[in-house]
């Protein structure tokens, strides 16, 4: 109960030290993953090489050979990028309509959209497998993109909606008086004004797509399999391949963690649907 005992001395020295310790503790597993990725598979399980060892890049250099990393990574990039683009393409007009031309049903529509996000994916596992297989879309990029887009669409629309709401309605109306049509409103006024919000929405959507681990695992085998599937498929090396597995894992999460640093503020808005400011 550090809080009870707070003194000025604690605030000045104790609090920062404690904060740093907590921060490092939370980061430690990631650090450990990266550290292990520079050890050989043999060194990785030897206590004498816990922190001091001869670093090697082999694990990274052999990622293609060991795991076919680039194929999965390419699939992750393709599916996440296109899912994000499509989610924005559908989401921007929709959020625009709801923010600037609300009807009495708008609130209910928004809530309903959110409720689709809350359906447990597992509940529709077999029907989805069944449908994709009967449509011949199982293990295709197309299907993964569609599913990733749909599961993120409610969040995308919500985030965009909260950003668009911040644009004064007067400005949109000034545009109408100045002779723009609907397309012009979106292109000339809305998108330039909400550019920052759209970018962070896209970033967050991309991160969610990249990390998705239910449908990407269940609806693919090899062709459209993403990094989630790759890692899941090599889940238990029983100590044999800690080095190489760490390398491929670090390569799978590294870019996303860095991207995440840039949109941590937007994350709050995106994940709480604007309910925490």
């Amino acid at each position: 109960m550090a809080i009870v005992a707070t003194t000025t001395k604690f605030s000045v020295y104790g609090r920062p030290v404690l904060a740093w310790i907590v921060g490092l503790l939370f980061f430690f597993p990631i650090f450990w993953l990266v550290l292990t990725s520079f050890k050989t598979d043999a060194d990785a399980v030897k206590p004498e090489f816990l922190f001091f060892f001869t670093p090697t890049l082999d694990n990274y250099l052999n990622m293609t050979e060991n795991y076919d990393y680039w194929r999965f990574a390419t699939n992750s990039v393709i599916t996440s990028v296109f899912a994000t683009i499509f989610a924005l393409a559908v989401g921007i007009p929709s959020a625009y309509a709801m923010a600037f031309n609300p009807s009495r049903a708008t609130k209910d529509v928004l809530m309903w959209m959110l409720s689709t996000k809350m359906l447990p994916a597992a509940a529709v596992l077999y029907p989805m497998t069944f449908l994709t297989k009967s449509l011949g879309l199982f293990d295709t990029h197309f299907m993964v993109i569609v599913v990733l887009m749909l599961i993120n669409l409610p969040i995308v629309i919500w985030m965009l909606f909260t950003y668009f709401k911040e644009i004064p309605k007067d400005i949109i109306e000034a545009g109408q008086m100045d002779g723009v049509n609907t397309w012009g409103e979106v292109k000339e006024i809305l998108i330039p004004l909400a550019w920052g919000g759209i970018a962070s929405t896209a970033l967050l959507c991309f991160i969610f797509c990249w990390n998705e681990a239910y449908w990407t695992v269940r609806l693919t085998t090899t062709e459209a399999a993403t990094l989630s599937k790759l890692i899941e498929g090599n889940r238990a090396p029983e100590g044999l391949f800690f080095g190489r597995l760490s390398a491929v894992s670090a390569a799978a999460v590294g870019p996303i963690v860095v991207l995440g640093w840039f949109c941590q503020k937007q994350l709050v808005q995106g994940l709480t649907f604007g309910a925490v400011k």
Binding site: F26, A123, W210
Partner: protein
């Protein structure tokens, strides 16, 4: 009317897509949950294709309710979700209050702290269960072995050796057994989601009324009273939101369970559905409907809360 029609229509693509996404698979699930539908059955091949003639009524639901696994999965789901919620909120509030005030390197600590949230669930599970928690080769195993070695070497030491010879050898914990693997899942998800709670609580703390706090100081309130009577009530709403959002996410926890505890009996609802879906689609679908009901109970509260702030 006239000139606002087109702009309003722009929301229809999203509505239609989500409508299909929600209705089609869910109605199929509902349909399958009322029929006998299995993928392989040599004696009753007619059950392998979905059809109304295989109508089973509530039979699948009865079957699921009577199966030992279902109760276990519900218990496990609630245990896992409940523990994670408690830990993330408690840790989240503590850490948020601790790092909210400016100190040297605050920005870096924030970045360090938020990082786990962006780690993909599959990597999270693989990293923890292998590299960290493995009883022999993971950090845990290495640490335990190291301590045992240390004790063993001290037992031969003069004077104090007798003391250490009383010590038992420490047993590393295997997190791949039924009960302990649930704990492993709780550890890794707490690690991943505490940052989320911290981030939200910090955002909320920034909007805390500083003048109110100053007034409280003038009124003679100590640090603890300030925390208890100002900060904590201020955080009430974000805590509720964090709890509900996490509940929804964690009720459908899958990758971590799959990776940590495949086949060892540590099941939650999504995992059970996956198991059923290997053959008994009827049972998988009935379980799915139960999962929907469970999620809806939480979702209704969450939606109410969000709905209130909407349109403000």
């Amino acid at each position: 009317m006239s000139n606002r029609t087109l702009p309003r229509l722009l929301q229809t693509p999203a509505v239609i897509l989500l409508l299909i996404w929600m209705l089609v698979p869910l109605s199929l699930t509902l349909y399958f949950s009322f029929i006998r539908y299995v993928l392989n059955n040599l004696r009753r091949p007619e059950w392998t294709t979905p059809s109304f003639s295989n109508w089973r009524g509530f039979g699948n639901y009865e079957f699921v309710l009577n199966s030992k696994d279902f109760l276990l999965a519900i218990q496990n789901s609630l245990f896992i979700v409940g523990s994670i919620l408690f830990l993330t909120v408690a840790l989240g509030v503590l850490i948020a209050v601790m790092i909210n005030k400016a100190f040297p390197g605050q920005g870096i600590v924030r970045v360090l702290l938020i990082s786990p949230f962006f780690v993909m669930p599959a990597v999270n599970a693989v990293l923890w269960i292998n590299m960290i928690l493995d009883p022999v080769l993971g950090l845990q195993g290495l640490a335990v072995a190291g301590i045992n070695d240390l004790i063993a070497s001290l037992q031969g030491a003069p004077v104090v050796g007798w003391f250490f010879s009383l010590w038992p050898e420490i047993e590393p914990i295997s997190f791949r057994a039924t009960q302990t693997s649930a704990i492993a899942v709780i550890i890794m998800v707490t690690w991943q989601w505490t940052p989320f709670a911290v981030l939200i609580f910090m955002t909320s703390l920034q909007s805390e009324d500083q003048q109110q706090k100053e007034a409280a100081v003038l009124d003679g309130a100590g640090t603890w009273s300030q925390f208890r009577f100002l900060t904590l009530p201020h955080l009430g709403r974000p805590i509720a939101i964090v709890v509900m959002i996490q509940a929804i996410f964690h009720l459908s926890l899958y990758a971590e369970i799959e990776i940590v505890s495949r086949g060892n009996g540590n099941k939650n609802l999504p995992y059970l559905i996956g198991e059923f879906a290997n053959n008994n689609i009827g049972a998988a679908s009935a379980t799915g409907i139960f999962a929907v009901i469970l999620a809806n109970i939480v979702a209704i509260f969450l939606l109410r809360m969000i709905g209130k702030t909407l349109m403000e």
